[in-house]
Symmetry: C2
Subunit: 264 residues, 2 copies
């Protein structure tokens, strides 16, 4: 463990101005926060590498066993005041880490290495960090094999998305980029049946018969999936009460995965 | 419509320091924000009364039909700068309203007036505003008849809870107060079968057979429902992947309501 007393110490430069960097991006690195997320980042199921950890001195004793398993990853320890000065705002939980992304792969490469029976989620235009995080949490809870995101959907390794996912976006494989059309092509090429969720879907979720390889595709709340995209998939609706047919997109993913993981 | 140019105008006193009042409470009044929520507040399905509306001048033209239906409710119009000065922070959507609560009723009184076939949600210790709002949104989407909340759960008419519910907490009847025990007693007295959701539940959600009057009971994320409370109900689990058995409480409500509304 390395004691940090100077907020300008060059060793912890990656932690400076976390919030601003969230907006402009930070290339190959990402920021993880909180004990539960750190445990996943340091664990065997993480697809990404921990580069360093920064914790408040008050958390050291409680995190001892976890930090002992961190191997050669540098652990920086600071007072809460120094930590806040480094980061630029108050870190309630006193636990931060910098991760380094696994090499990116495209949707086709990711789908090619999935098992013959597979369940994946595809997001088109879902730019809200809470929703993307919530979808990953549900994907992990129901054992989905991967998440595909078009280029307009937000980065699952954005700090808030990781936090809302409770770390699931560190463990569930994902590919991000391209258009919804390209995702649909890659899914078809890999033998997936894609169910496009929409309040106007032709089948109810109960009627949808999952295939060996099944994808649940979701659009952003409000606009939903583009009509031209839905015309190329099997559209599926979740029956709702008249006059209030509105579900959050993460909740929708949870209901669809519950049904399709059970039915597969 | 009444033009407001002075942030200290006594007519709009109810809008001052919205954020601080959120914390200390505002008695019989609540704050609603955004066009979708305002539409529900002014609509026939709202259980509560609109007392006044405050909108940015830029929104007047677009909201004309809605505001025309507001009847005798005063509509205050201000510049964005005056509106921000009144409220104390920036209101992105430029639409606020003050509502007056319907008279409170207790769980027993609410349950007594529900139909013979009814589906309700009960929350115990769910103090997170996003989660309570999300539960109400799902309750409305699946046509649940009411939501019961113990006294430790947060007020569904807190501004953020209303917003996250997309206004559902204005239309779905609820009762709040007392302990989880008292809710369970009131449910039993009214002939409800209560399913207590827990990762360690004895039945899977598929196995749970809804009764004519069914209640889904949920605890806070983390602690969950008290064990002694679960001992008095039928406990139900949503099967999840090994190693990541964690769902958000609002998502859990959505999955349970999807299953039980369909199965009832």
């Amino acid at each position: 463990m390395i004691r940090i007393d100077d907020p300008d110490d060059p060793r912890i430069a990656a932690y400076r101005a976390v919030r601003e960097r969230d907006v402009v991006g930070r290339g190959e690195r990402f920021v993880a926060e909180g004990e539960v997320v750190l445990r996943l980042l340091l664990g065997d199921s993480s697809r990404h590498q921990a580069e360093s950890v920064l914790i408040a001195e008050s958390r050291v004793a409680g995190l001892e066993p976890l930090l002992g398993a961190a191997g050669h990853v540098p652990i920086y320890v600071a007072s809460p005041a120094v930590m806040d000065a480094i980061v630029g705002f108050h870190i309630h939980r006193g636990v931060l880490a910098i991760g380094r992304r696994a090499p990116a792969e495209d949707a086709a490469a990711l789908l090619a290495r999935l098992p013959p029976r597979a369940l994946v989620v595809a997001l088109v235009g879902v730019s809200n960090h809470d929703n993307v995080g919530g979808v990953f949490r549900n994907a992990a809870a129901f054992g989905a094999d991967a998440v595909l995101l078009d280029g307009a959907s937000c980065d699952p390794l954005y700090r808030k998305a990781i936090r809302v996912s409770v770390g699931a976006s560190l463990v569930t494989p994902f590919a991000r980029g391209g258009s919804g059309w390209e995702l649909l092509d890659a899914l078809a090429d890999a033998g997936f049946t894609t169910f496009a969720l929409s309040p106007s879907g032709e089948l109810t979720l109960e009627e949808a018969r999952p295939a060996a390889r099944t994808c649940v595709m979701l659009g952003a709340e409000g606009p939903g999936l583009p009509h031209a995209l839905m015309a190329r998939a099997t559209t599926v609706r979740i029956p709702m009460a008249h006059g209030f047919d509105s579900l959050n997109v993460a909740t929708t993913s949870g209901i669809a995965l519950y049904r399709l993981a059970r039915g597969a």
